[in-house]
């Protein structure tokens, strides 16, 4: 499997955020996205997920499932957790299992240390716990490509270890991880991509 980005161009609000961006990511590889604020890290991830159309260039997942869109083969973790406050932790994950067609809730709970919280309404979780619940989707439903936008926000040191373990084991199992981050995630990324300074027009 190979994720190929060719000559990508991103225009937001009339401003060219980046252009001529090419990148090949083989399976079993992690890519670290760095760059200052406004350099287009989030835009690139949203483009890969299919939310933003590319102004030029194309994206292709070689060896992926050609019947479904790239977005359906991706996990996108953005700034928001996608957690329903009125549902319990368990019910949140149960919905994603049914909707996305996923696996075991128990193992996803343990992957992010949520077993003891499973019957608590998600509205009562702290910011870090809610983040972990949002991330538990990664372990719940298998998808080859993970797009992570600042995944470690509001996680404490112990919780960050669960995240880095999940990322490392996904890479080891032949997955692709693209993570935009300012703080080190504690994972060795094979590739790194530094986006420009932003503000160019």
């Amino acid at each position: 499997m190979k994720l190929a980005l060719k000559d990508l161009k991103c225009v937001r609000g009339g401003r060219t955020v980046f252009e001529g961006l090419s990148l090949n990511v083989r399976d079993g590889t992690g890519v670290e996205l760095t760059g200052p604020n406004g350099s287009g890290k989030s835009s690139l991830l949203r483009m890969l997920a299919g939310f933003i159309p590319a102004a030029a260039g194309h994206i292709h997942l070689e060896g992926g499932d050609n019947d479904v869109s790239l977005g359906e083969q991706c996990h996108y973790v953005g700034h928001l957790n996608g957690v329903k406050r009125a549902l319990s932790v368990q019910e949140n994950l149960a919905f994603w299992t049914e909707y996305l067609g996923g696996g075991e809730i128990e193992s996803a709970l343990s992957a992010f240390d949520l077993e003891n919280l499973s019957h608590i309404p998600a509205g009562l979780l702290s910011a870090g716990q809610a983040r972990r619940l949002g991330l538990a989707r990664l372990a719940l439903v298998h998808r080859p490509v993970w797009l992570l936008d600042e995944p470690s926000v509001s996680l404490d040191k112990g919780s960050r270890k669960f995240l880095s373990t999940a990322i490392a084991s996904h890479i080891k199992a032949g997955g692709i991880v693209i993570a935009a981050t300012h703080a080190p995630l504690g994972v060795k990324f094979a590739q790194s991509l530094k986006l420009g300074t932003g503000g160019r027009s």
Binding site: G78, N81, W96, Y99, L100, G101
Partner: protein
């Protein structure tokens, strides 16, 4: 199909847990219908004549109260992005959420209508047609509402704009819903012709509104 039903079931569960939308809509419906006779005076003949119109307009306004919530919460907490990356095309996502809105708001309002009709001295032979036309028209109200909710998603104060956008689209439902009821109460126009047009409006809306809603949602995820 499993994804569709799971989305409907989740929305119904959330509507039940959060509770506010259903009781607000029912309470608003009751208050509007109850307050109008106070303004019009206790003329029973007059009330009976305008009852179909009042019941329908109040139902539209009550439904409108909750319509802006259809996508708002999912957009705000990031759930919509994840749903968009799921197996359902956005057209069916919009249809599922409109269906859940109809079940949680449209059906309770339809069932409350005959009770409120007592307050307005609606003729006894019109009760069945009241329930029938509302059961037929409320899906169109939910699906058009979903379209308005998708268009105004992400706007700070989208509620008022939503009403401006959607109320004119409700006009055909209102006209033929009331016409079908008046046909039974006063005649002489046949009931079936108005009722079948109402059915056609609802069916066309169920097909077309999700397509437009999905286009609006795509723009919003951009």
């Amino acid at each position: 199909m499993k994804a569709f039903t799971s989305l409907v079931a989740r929305d119904l569960r959330l509507a039940w847990r959060e509770g506010g939308a259903i009781s607000t809509a029912l309470g608003f419906y009751l208050v509007v219908v109850a307050i109008l006779p106070l303004g019009l005076g206790p003329d029973l003949n007059l009330l009976a004549r305008i009852a179909p119109g009042i019941l329908w307009v109040a139902l539209l306004l009550a439904a409108l109260l909750s319509v802006d919530r259809i996508f708002h919460n999912d957009h705000e907490d990031g759930t919509l992005e994840i749903i968009a990356l799921g197996p359902l095309p956005l057209e069916l996502v919009a249809a599922a959420k409109a269906t859940a809105h109809w079940i949680s708001i449209g059906i309770p309002l339809t069932l409350a209508a005959p009770i409120l009709a007592l307050l307005l001295n609606l003729p006894a032979n019109a009760f069945w047609v009241l329930v029938l036309t509302m059961a037929t028209g409320t899906p169109a109200i939910s699906f058009l509402g979903a379209l308005g909710a998708a268009l105004t998603l992400g706007l700070g104060r989208g509620g008022l704009l939503l009403a401006l956008l959607i109320l004119p689209l409700y006009a055909p439902v209102l006209i033929f819903g009331v016409a079908a009821m008046n046909a039974v109460i006063t005649g002489p126009s046949p009931f079936l012709s108005s009722y079948l047009i109402l059915c056609a409006i609802t069916l066309a809306t169920i097909v077309l509104a999700p397509i437009a809603s999905a286009a609006a949602l795509r723009l919003n995820l951009n």
